[in-house]
């Protein structure tokens, strides 16, 4: 039964959800005595109104693309990887070790090496829960959550005891060498005559993220491995019938997922901070879950959802800078968007489906 045209499912539902979220956010802003229209304007202006704003928005979006894809790969194998946070943290460690290992002469050499480092560490961190799930049946949700804590503790230890610069109070690693500096948007676009703010963080990693988005699409829908991942995700019994080894798929899907999460570090650690700081991931691993959910685990959806969340982060920051809106409220607004677009999907879907059915019937009659 085709209840609703595809475009309505892909475009209309998220759009209405976002509008609803903004409506309720507006109510909250109004309730604390601020002007919702000014607030929304500030957010939009702050996120898209300047090259610096756009750069911040895309910087955050890059993080979410990586973690969103990571969650989505696992989800196609019906594995709920909540460990994106920890895997991205460990990815940061991998990137840091690579970047600090030798005085890199140029970023074109440093970037591929750092990508390998980040992906390997992220995948490694995902491997243990994956193995436990595949061979011992330990629930991946529990193990990946716990591995986030272990990852945070491990990094805290390394940053305070091993990687920290002697005498510094900052729990962060040494700065990466100049040669490991990734060009930011200003440096990338200057040669072609587009002037980006030189002090904003969006960088080369954004393009790596776009590349990964494309590779994700190929993997899931065009390759045998993607076919097997999806088959396993839809039905484990059917996968067994077809001769697909469940343990193998669980482990491979989680390795890819962890690698993608780990790759996020080339953006936040290598591209932005240029050093490893404590809690560098800042919840992007969890936002990735919302992004994947909202993007329906499809690369295009994930890309769009990532930009939306990038907007929420950057716009939210502007809101607290200029509107004296407490940061807790900014979190409330972000949560409302997640709630409406992710969790309350059916609230919008049901009436819309009914509407379409009614419309169709009218057309037929």
């Amino acid at each position: 039964m085709n209840k609703m045209p595809k475009w309505a499912d892909a475009v209309l539902i998220p759009l209405i959800s976002i509008l609803l979220a903004f409506f309720f956010s507006g109510l909250v802003i109004w309730a604390i005595g601020k002007d919702p229209v000014v607030a929304i304007k500030t957010m939009v202006q702050g996120a898209f109104g300047s090259t610096s704003g756009i750069s911040y928005t895309l910087y955050y979006a890059t993080n979410f693309i990586f973690t969103g894809l990571a969650v989505a790969v696992a989800y196609h194998a019906r594995l709920f990887n909540i460990g994106g946070e920890g895997q991205a943290m460990l990815g940061g460690l991998g990137v840091t070790l690579v970047c600090l290992a030798i005085p890199w002469p140029h970023w074109t050499l440093a970037l591929p090496a750092a990508m390998i480092g980040g992906a390997l560490f992220g995948a490694g961190w995902a491997f243990i829960p994956a193995w436990l799930q595949a061979k011992r049946g330990s629930h991946i949700v529990i193990t990946t959550i716990m591995f986030n804590y272990i990852g945070a503790a491990l990094l805290g230890y390394l940053l305070t005891k091993v990687l920290k610069v002697k005498g510094s109070m900052l729990t962060e690693s040494a700065r990466f060498p100049e040669g490991a500096h990734l060009p930011n948007f200003s440096e990338i676009f200057a040669p072609i005559g587009i002037n980006f703010s030189p002090n904003a963080p969006a960088n080369m990693a954004f393009f790596v993220a776009l590349l990964c988005t494309f590779a994700f699409w190929i993997l899931i829908w065009k390759t045998r491995l993607g076919y097997e991942i999806r088959a396993y995700g839809q039905s484990e019994t059917a996968a067994k019938y077809a001769g697909i080894a469940p343990a193998r798929i669980v482990i491979i899907a989680m390795l890819i997922s962890g690698a993608l999460a780990g790759l996020m570090a080339i953006n936040n650690v290598m591209g932005e901070a240029e050093r490893l700081i404590d809690n560098a991931v800042e919840g992007a691993g969890f936002i990735g879950i919302a992004v994947a959910l909202m993007g329906r685990n499809h690369p295009i959806g994930i890309l769009l959802a990532s930009i939306l969340f990038g907007f929420l982060y950057q716009g939210g920051a502007e809101l607290s800078f200029w509107e004296s809106i407490p940061r807790e409220l900014v979190v409330v607004i972000q949560a409302l968007v997640i709630m409406f677009t992710g969790a309350l999907d059916n609230m919008v879907r049901m009436p819309l489906e009914k509407l379409f059915v009614a419309l169709n019937r009218k057309k037929e009659a």
Binding site: T160, F321, W322, R327
Partner: protein
């Protein structure tokens, strides 16, 4: 909030595009948030005091993420706020780059030294204040064991612990100071439950006075000490009132003064390195009606004596951060 502030907010939003200069000061709080009853709140109180006394207005922001440090600094500097005060050492890296880009803006950073011509670096001699409360602890304890609960395991907190231990051992050389850190991640600043557990464990090991230098975690330490009937020592702000009769004293760090001074000086902020110690009332042991009954005359005398000797240079308290080691433990 009134309509007027809304309007001002809108004006500020417009200002960010037009680049018009506002000569108001601004303060950026650290991730703990401005009502942490400790460090950030002290900074907030200083700013409020300035606003009340001068009738001026200032802008403040609480950060959500590390990436926003540089962003907030830059946005405030671009919009012409001056001076811009940062509460917390974590701003150092961001400030280093931003200060260069805005040579005409004055910045003040607390708890950290950033070497730039337009930056005022304010650090506190926490080891001196901690030494004083260490002496107080030694007099208050009947036995020879006291303890320390730190927040996140960073050199700054070891600086507190080391000063405290030195003060205690100056009175009881054979005594024992139990030192525990809550954790290695920033969440260690806000874990009162674990703070309470550590305190209980220390009490089981014989501690009679516990010094909490742990932000929000310290609230749990103070609470547990009061529940278990031992004495505690607060930190940063005067926390004596939190558990009256149980908090022996507080090692106050006059962050409020640092902010207040910076705001007072305005655009003409004197830059350079400023150490706030016992000599210039930057640190000290809080005395008020809540702990009056706990302070014995001889304790008071010993603390005054030590204060004098430190100011005169006769006693030098070792700063843990100078070599990351402590002679007292």
């Amino acid at each position: 909030m009134t309509l007027k502030t809304t309007f001002l907010g809108a004006a500020a939003a417009l200002a960010l595009t037009s680049g018009a200069a506002l000569a108001d000061p601004a303060i950026i709080f650290d991730l703990g948030g401005k009502f942490d009853k400790s460090f950030n709140e002290a900074a907030y109180n200083g700013a409020e005091r300035w606003a009340k006394e001068t009738g001026g207005s200032y802008r403040d922001v609480e950060l959500q993420s590390d990436a926003q440090r540089e962003q907030a600094l830059r946005r405030f500097a671009e919009s012409g706020f001056n001076p811009i005060v940062m509460a917390g050492f974590s701003f150092a890296t961001a400030l280093e780059t931003v200060a260069k880009d805005f040579p005409d803006t004055k910045f003040a950073i607390i708890d950290m030294v950033v070497d730039a011509p337009n930056v005022r670096s304010v650090v506190f001699n926490e080891h001196e204040g901690s030494y004083l409360v260490g002496i107080a602890a030694a007099y208050a304890a009947k036995g020879d064991t006291v303890s320390f609960v730190g927040g996140m395991d960073i050199p700054l907190i070891s600086k507190f612990a080391c000063g405290y231990a030195q003060g205690f051992k100056a009175v009881k050389p054979e005594g024992k100071v139990i030192v525990n850190m809550t954790g290695t991640t920033p969440s260690a600043w806000n874990d009162p439950v674990k703070g309470g557990e550590l305190t209980r464990a220390q009490i089981a090991d014989g501690s009679e006075v516990v010094f909490a230098a742990a932000g929000g975690t310290g609230l749990g330490v103070l609470q547990t000490a009061a529940d278990e009937g031992i004495l505690s020592i607060g930190v940063d702000s005067n926390q004596n009132y939190l558990q009256p009769g149980s908090v022996l004293t507080s090692m106050v760090k006059r962050v409020d003064n640092a902010v207040y001074d910076a705001f007072m000086q305005g655009e003409n902020l004197e830059t350079g390195f400023f150490a706030m110690g016992l000599a210039n009332d930057g640190v000290g042991a809080a005395m008020d009606e809540y702990n009056a009954a706990l302070i014995t005359p001889e304790m008071k005398a010993a603390m005054d004596d030590a204060t004098a000797k430190i100011i005169s240079g006769e006693v030098v308290v070792h700063d843990y951060m100078s070599d990351e080691s402590c002679p007292a433990y």
